[in-house]
Symmetry: C2
Subunit: 338 residues, 2 copies
């Protein structure tokens, strides 16, 4: 049995998350029982939702238990199998957690998904053709439901979700505007991701200033907004929403540290007759097949060119994760484990 490096949640953050919230340990992988497979993880996905799980405040999911392996999506290869459903060598995606190996009950529906890496590289199944891509799809198709020619805006525009959102939005002939941090990201958004415009929020000290920039880049107003950030950015966008606009609320990174993050003028939801809807993509499994099909095609045809930031080795995961929360990554943040 191979030795398995694991990262546990050792203690909960007080305010900002820090590296010492995690603890690296080594254990032996247990012997397989009937119906189980052993997966060697090639990639670990790092995602903003993990920050919420680290706290034990009210959230949509149970908090991550202390002393246990951090939750996380993984892509890898079956290296041992006692299930008829999987063969050694199968490329698979699952929720293996922050560790090098996982033992998976292959009989459990949805626990492990075989993927085809002939055209789409394995790592993309954790990003554009995985949970982040489907997240963008659900918010766009099921909440924003845009019409041709409408203006759509997304924050964290160059991240895994924002990148997929841009490709899906352009495929529906919508004017597609991003908000990202820094000139380099904004340049990338336009030149590589197909955004029509991108606003660098780091150039703006407050919501009023950022709101003017949104107005300048969305001269016809904003019909649909995909929110990954919250805080000042949401305050800046809300006054720019057109009547009957839709806001898909997917993330509020700015608030994960427990700082109070009020919405300055919620009356705009009434005066502009907006729909603001929060969602978690894992509760909408019914859209996954259609979403993955479209996203796979967009990647295969080059309309969606996901960029990845790779950290090397499990021990690098905490710092990479903390960087993600501060927007230091470029595109999808992964940890390469082999």
């Amino acid at each position: 049995m191979p030795v398995n490096q694991q990262l546990l949640l050792d203690n909960r953050p007080v305010g900002e998350a820090i590296a010492s919230n995690f603890k690296l340990v080594s254990t032996d992988t247990p012997a397989l029982q009937d119906g189980q497979v052993l997966v060697r993880h090639h990639f670990l996905s790092l995602d903003p939702y993990m920050r919420m799980r680290m706290s034990d405040s009210k959230s949509y999911a149970a908090p991550q238990a202390l002393g246990e392996v951090m939750i996380g999506g993984t892509a890898g290869e079956v290296v041992e199998s006692r299930s008829a459903k999987f063969q050694v060598g199968d490329q698979v995606v699952g929720m293996g957690g922050w560790q090098q190996y996982s033992v998976v009950n292959a009989e459990q529906p949805g626990a492990l998904r075989k993927v085809n890496t002939t055209i789409v590289p394995l790592s993309h199944y954790l990003g554009a053709v995985g949970m982040p891509g489907v997240t963008a799809y659900y918010g766009l198709v099921n909440i924003i439901a845009p019409k041709v020619g409408q203006t759509l805006l997304v924050s964290a525009a160059t991240g895994a979700v924002g990148s997929a959102f841009a490709a899906l939005s352009k495929a529906r002939s919508c004017r597609t505007v991003g908000i990202a941090g820094g000139a380099e990201k904004c340049h990338y958004a336009i030149s590589e991701l197909g955004f029509d415009a991108c606003i660098d929020y780091k150039l703006h000290a407050d919501a009023a200033s950022l709101s003017k920039a949104v107005k300048a880049h969305c001269p016809d107003g904003v019909d649909g907004y995909f929110e990954n950030v919250g805080g000042m950015v949401l305050d800046a966008v809300l006054p720019r929403m057109n009547a009957f606009g839709r806001i898909a609320l997917c993330g509020m990174i700015a608030g994960y540290d427990g700082r109070p993050m009020p919405l300055s003028n919620p009356a705009l939801i009434l005066t502009s007759r907006l729909k603001v809807q929060g969602f978690i993509v894992s509760e909408h499994m019914e859209v996954w097949p259609d979403a993955l099909k479209e996203l796979g095609t967009l990647v295969a045809t080059g309309q969606l060119k996901p960029r990845e930031t790779l950290a090397q080795g499990l021990a690098a995961a905490p710092e990479a994760f903390l960087g993600l929360l501060k927007g230091k990554n470029f595109g999808k943040q992964l940890v390469k484990l082999i």
Copy 2:
């Protein structure tokens, strides 16, 4: 031609609205042209939305013009007609404004509606079987869309909208809880309007305290919330919303005076996967026929017993309106003009 008393908007409020924002004048009613009718108003409706129109900040409707007759719903009788569509003596509802008479172009679709006062008294067409009733209907049926047995909550519970909401909610077998100001209103909500419980917000100094009361009276959480108030009340309710709850945003009285009224914790919309939707009933004319039919039946069968507060004479309208904004009215606030 009769002399017509009118109330004009003379100047815009700075902060709180005051009586001297209005100006009482007398004019002669003009001679009718072909297609016009002269309506003598029996009742003028006073509604919170009027406060928003008095300011010229961004809103869903154009601001009320200075020096012109204040906008408002009216119920009255045709006293002169040069239209084949209306006869002298017809009971009609329209948007006649804050004045004793109005000249209406009867050819304009929707400008004037004939009503039957055999069973439903004329004044109710400005309340339970009019715009406020349809407002409750739209929020309940089209946004909250409750299932049998769910818990629904409404603020300003004993007002015209809240009263209708209660009857519509009970007709759908939902646990129906109100929020109102004062013991008398709460008693009335339960004994007359059919609420299962009513929370007196005046007993609570802050959102945390009010939130505890909501929890106590909604032990299974809140599935649908009809918001007429905003501010502290919305802050108190948001943490009590169940997953996938719906909030119909109809009014934000607390914010009409231009005071900033932030929402303390908008991240709850995400973590509880809520839908928050603002609406204006006049933009959804398609629901009016079904809504008026159900509301008329509820009134006719005694399941909805609307209470009215009557101010006497047009000159009393400003003070009655300012009282409405402070919750001094009991049920539907009207001005009796004859």
